[in-house]
Every structure is written in C-alpha cells, then in structure tokens.
C-alpha cells in the first residue's frame, strides 16, 4: 500500500469509528469496545516485543494491575473512573521499572518465562490478599450513573481513546530518537551498546510505556465489566490472544496489531456464537495456524504486495527442522 493511500485509509477508518455509535446497536457497541481493548493490549505488547524485541509473554500482568488499581481507587478512594484508570497506568509503569531491572537482563525463553512467572505470582498474591483486593471472590466496581445507552457509549469512547493513545504513542516512538535506539538494540544489543545506545534505560522505558497502556486498557475493562477476579484479568488465554493479534497484524509495525485485533476478535465472536462447545479448540487451532503459516502477519503480505500459497510455505520452510 502506498503511503498516501494508507494514510487516507487510516483517516477514514478513524472517522468511521468515531461516528460509529450513530448507527451501531448495543450488540455492536459491545463488540467494538471489546475490540478496542484488545487492540490497545496488542499495541502495548508490540512496544516491548515488536519494537524492542523482548517478548514479554506475561505482559497481561499489567492488565490485571491496571484493573485492580482502578477498582481499588474507585472503591476505597472514591476516585472518578478516568483518574483511577490513569492511576492504574502509573502503578503499572512503576512495577515495570522495578521488575525490569532484574528481568530485562534475561534472554530468550528465560525472559518470556520470567514474565509468565511474574504474572502468576501477582495473580496468586492478589488472590490471597483478600482484605485489600477481595481475593478469589473478586472485586465489584461501582456502576456508572448514566442510562444504559450512556454507559455503552462511555465505554466505547473510553476504550477507543485508550487505543488511539497507544497508537499515537507507538507512532511517536517509531519516529523518534528513542525508536532508533530500540530498533538497534532489538537487532543487535551489544552492537547498539558500543555505539552509545543506553540499552538498559531504553528497554525499561519501553516496558514502562507498554505497561502503562496495557494497564489503561485494564482500567477501562474493570469499570466496564464492574466485576473482576484474578482468574480473568491475569488470564494467560487473554495474554495469548493479544499476542497472536499482534503477530497476525505484523509485529513491529505501527498499525499491524490493531488490524490483527479486529480480525481475530471478529473471528472469535463468530466462533463463540457458532461453535460454543468447541470454541476453545477452534481458537486454539486458529492460533496454531497463524503461528505456523503467518508468523510475520498481514504486514508481510502488504509489503510483498501479493498473497500466495508460496509465501505460506516459505514461512514453514524457514522455521522447520
């Protein structure tokens, strides 16, 4: 796609999303809100995994931290939703900085697994800290004081706002000195260090940014659902879903993860509605197919300007024994 065509497409799409509620019914408002949240999660993951090259498998921990911080701030401090969600973002970013210190030193599988371990650890702590977090029984958030349609619209736009913020942040990073530094350390960390890139600092900034947006999405989710429990906000299934979305769209690109989120979530909705009993299996199958045949996502097809069986097979050939 040529640059100007792409820009036009994005502008049109954004406008359509803004004006969407005029024509969308509640079912579709819900679906799109869900898509926006997933897309923000995918974009957030893209910042640490795609731009920086550190695949934080357990990044969903920040979703949970955002959700719980938002809930706790709203309940215990009576904070308004937006402030509480931002608070969640800040807390998550702080956590990323603290754990980033020891964990960003790890490579490959070990880094991915450490993040998984952190997610499980925090989930276990939240589950047990019943006094503060409601423990395994979950946390109930206050319902918005607005009519039904009003609530749907609020969360639609809140989620859309978080998504747009994450996309804008990614755009700014990619075109900045920080972006150059991140891409260089992704490709060759030692090579980057010897030409002056402060890799530890940049990695940490990237992770904190990723955590911030992931947590914001969690903050919107929590108030939307009005009920959260450890099992569903520190959920690895969620983690894998948004990772696959980022992959599907194109890891490392700016808009890829958003596209991937749209496609996979719409597909998910379809599968859920048609194949309820085996929807887990169907999703699992989709995930496997994506990883095997389209590891570089749609962005690859767009760049290659063609869609052929050969591309799929080539991907397999590159990764097999």
């Amino acid at each position: 796609m040529r640059g100007s065509t792409l820009r036009l497409a994005i502008a049109v799409a954004t406008l359509a999303l803004f004006l969407g509620p005029i024509v969308l019914d509640q079912f579709w408002l819900r679906v799109f809100t869900s898509i926006f949240i997933f897309a923000a999660l995918a974009e957030g993951w893209n910042i640490i995994a795609g731009l920086t090259g550190y695949p934080a498998f357990g990044n969903v921990v920040f979703f949970g931290i955002g959700a719980y911080t938002t809930g706790i701030l709203m309940i215990k401090a009576g904070a308004p939703h937006a402030a509480a969600a931002l608070g969640g973002g800040v807390v998550a970013a702080a956590v990323a900085v603290v754990i980033g210190f020891p964990i960003l030193r790890l490579k490959g599988h070990y880094f991915a697994i450490a993040t998984l371990g952190v997610n499980e650890l925090i989930r276990a702590i939240v589950t047990n800290w019943t006094g503060f977090t409601g423990g395994g029984m979950g946390l109930t958030l206050p319902i918005m004081a607005a009519g039904v349609r009003g609530i749907y619209l609020y969360f639609y736009y809140a989620a859309l706002a978080v998504l747009m913020a994450s996309v804008v942040a990614t755009l700014l990073i990619v075109r900045s000195r920080l972006g150059f530094g991140l891409r260089s350390l992704r490709d060759d960390e030692d090579g980057a260090r010897v030409i002056g890139v402060p890799t530890t600092l940049l990695k940490t900034v990237a992770w904190a940014t990723s955590a911030f947006f992931t947590a914001l999405a969690g903050g919107v989710y929590a108030a939307w659902m009005t009920f959260i429990e450890p099992a569903n906000v520190f959920d690895m299934l969620l983690a894998v879903k948004f990772i696959v979305m980022a992959l599907l769209g194109g890891l490392g690109t700016v808009f890829g993860p958003v596209v991937g989120a749209f496609v996979l979530e719409l597909l998910s909705e379809l599968v859920w509605s048609q194949f309820l009993t085996i929807h887990l299996a169907a999703l699992g199958l989709i995930i496997m197919v994506v990883v095997i045949f389209i590891p570089r996502g749609f962005a690859e097809f767009i760049a290659a300007r063609r869609l052929s069986l050969g591309l799929f097979l080539e991907n397999v050939r590159q990764n097999r024994v």
Binding site: F57, L106, A112, G117, V240, A281, G284, M288, V321
Partner: protein, 293 residues
C-alpha cells in the same frame, strides 16, 4: 519437630513425583529448545489412559504405566513430526504460543470427550501406611517415589548408555555437528519428544493414583514442570530431580508455614526469584541462560 520431619518426608516423596512431571518438559526444552506449554495436558492425558484401564479393566494404576507411556510416546512422536517440527527454529515466543494453542485444543477435546468431572484411580492400598523408624509413611507415596526414581534411572541409562540416547544428547548440544556425523535430526527430535511425552504419561498415571484430576489441571501441571526445570536447571539430567525435590519441599514447607492458600505464592515466588538470582538453576549449565549485565 515431628511435624517438620513429617513435612520434610512428604516433601521429598512429592518431589519424586514432581521430578517425573518435569523430566519430560526439561528434555524437550534442553534438546529441541522448545518450551512445551501443552506438557501439563499430556500429563493429564496419561492420567486418563490410566483411568480408562482402571475403570474398565480394574487394573492397578501403577501397572498401567507401561501402557500410558506407550500411548503418550506414540502421541508425542506423531505430534512432533506433524506439528512441532514446523516451528522448531522459529523465535522463542512462537513456540510458546503454538504449544499454548495446542493445549487449548487438547483441553477442549478432553472436556468434550470426558467432561470436566474430576476423576481418580486410587489403588486398593491407597490408605495403607508403613512404619519407617519413628515416622508413618503412606505406602502409595513411597511406591510412587520409587517408581519415579526407577523411571529416571532408566532414562539416564538410555541416554548415556545407548546409541540412540547418545544421539539425542549430541543433537541437543550441537545440532549441526550431530547431523555431520550422520544423526537423523528429524527422527531424533521426534524420538526425544516421544520420550518426553512418555514421561508425561507416566507422571499422569502416578498422579491419577494419588489425586483427583480433570482437564483444567493441565495448566497448573505445566507450571509445576516449569518450576522443576528452571529451579533444577537445564543441561543436567539430575536437574529435574533436584528441582522436583525443591518444589516438593517448598510446597509442603510453605503449606506448613503459611497455610494452604499461600502455597501458590511460594511456588511462583520461587520461580521468579531463581530467574532473577540464578537463572541457570541449581545444577544447570550457564550457557543455557546467559544473562546480560
């Protein structure tokens, strides 16, 4: 004092079981460099095989081990050749996601076919105890520990004393070099994965005899396998044994010290701590887990 000793003994016995759970996982990671998130469900599959024989033919669960191992071996071999093979050289998180998708598939298939009901296959002597000095030890746990030890010894002998085993070890250390001396890599990978799956199957049989199980326990068992492997370390066959013992002791000790519900926190805290302080694990070789400073 007696409580502590009893806790320690229980921890050690449990450790044997956990070593069995983790052995296959460590094998897959060490040789194929694949972290198999579906390992836990394969353990559960083994448990179901045992349950089927137990329920259907009244066979003692521990005697079904050869069968569950054979079934899982075939399953694993085929799985590796057909699916895992395709992403062996892909970036790290790809294999994690693929095996996660696989786990979802298998869990759903099990839920569909066998329902989410908890099953168990306790042998006739499940409640029997034996006196060892001042301690009372359940016979079943002791037997399980012995079986786990036996299997591990057999694996050790296979790996170090047979040609096939040596080929597997060589492939794990240097794939290209192994290929140059004539090792069939594809076959070796399939064999390794088959063996790893067989161990998962055996672990499943042991678990079926001791606990209740259901498809949803796949995830937690995978995490246990993680812990065992990471704590024990890659690159040494004794790694999972040490890891298993540590986990067993941590769980029983943690339960005693902080209560049942905090055991999870202790376990995952241990995982994160080890990765921060000594990622290569207790017995692991450093080159598996280099750290940037």
């Amino acid at each position: 004092m007696e409580i502590i000793a009893a806790t320690a003994i229980n921890g050690i016995l449990l450790g044997g079981l956990y070593a069995c759970v983790g052995m296959g996982f460590a094998l897959t990671w060490g040789i194929l460099n694949v972290v198999n998130l579906a390992h836990g469900v394969m353990v559960i599959l083994g448990a179901y095989v045992t349950f089927a024989l137990y329920k259907g033919l009244g066979v003692d669960p521990l005697l079904t081990i050869p069968v569950s191992m054979a079934v899982l071996f075939a399953f694993g071999y085929g799985l590796q050749r057909g699916v895992i093979n395709l992403i062996v050289r892909a970036p790290v998180f790809m294999t994690l996601i693929l095996t996660f998708g696989l786990e979802m598939l298998i869990i759903n298939a099990l839920l569909f076919g066998a329902s989410a009901d908890f099953r168990a296959a306790p042998p006739s002597y499940a409640a029997a105890v034996i006196r060892l000095g001042p301690f009372i030890v359940p016979v079943l746990r002791l037997t399980i520990f012995a079986v786990a030890l036996l299997l591990t010894t057999l694996l050790f002998l296979f790996m170090y004393r047979t040609r096939r085993g040596n080929a597997i070890l060589a492939t794990g250390q240097d794939k290209e070099a192994a290929e140059l001396v004539g090792v069939d890599i594809a076959r070796t990978y399939a064999m390794s994965f088959g063996i790893a799956s067989a161990f998962a199957g055996a672990a499943g049989s042991l678990i079926a005899s001791l606990y209740a199980f259901s498809p949803v326990l796949g995830g937690p068992y995978t995490l246990k396998a993680f812990l065992v492997t990471v704590v024990g370390g890659l690159g040494s066959m004794a790694g999972p044994i040490v890891g298993g013992l540590v986990l067993g002791l941590a769980e029983t000790g943690g339960s005693l010290a902080f209560g049942e519900t905090w055991v999870e926190v202790v376990s995952y805290g241990l995982l994160v701590l080890i990765l921060i302080v000594r990622p290569e694990g207790i017995l692991g070789k450093k080159y598996f887990a280099e750290v940037r400073n």
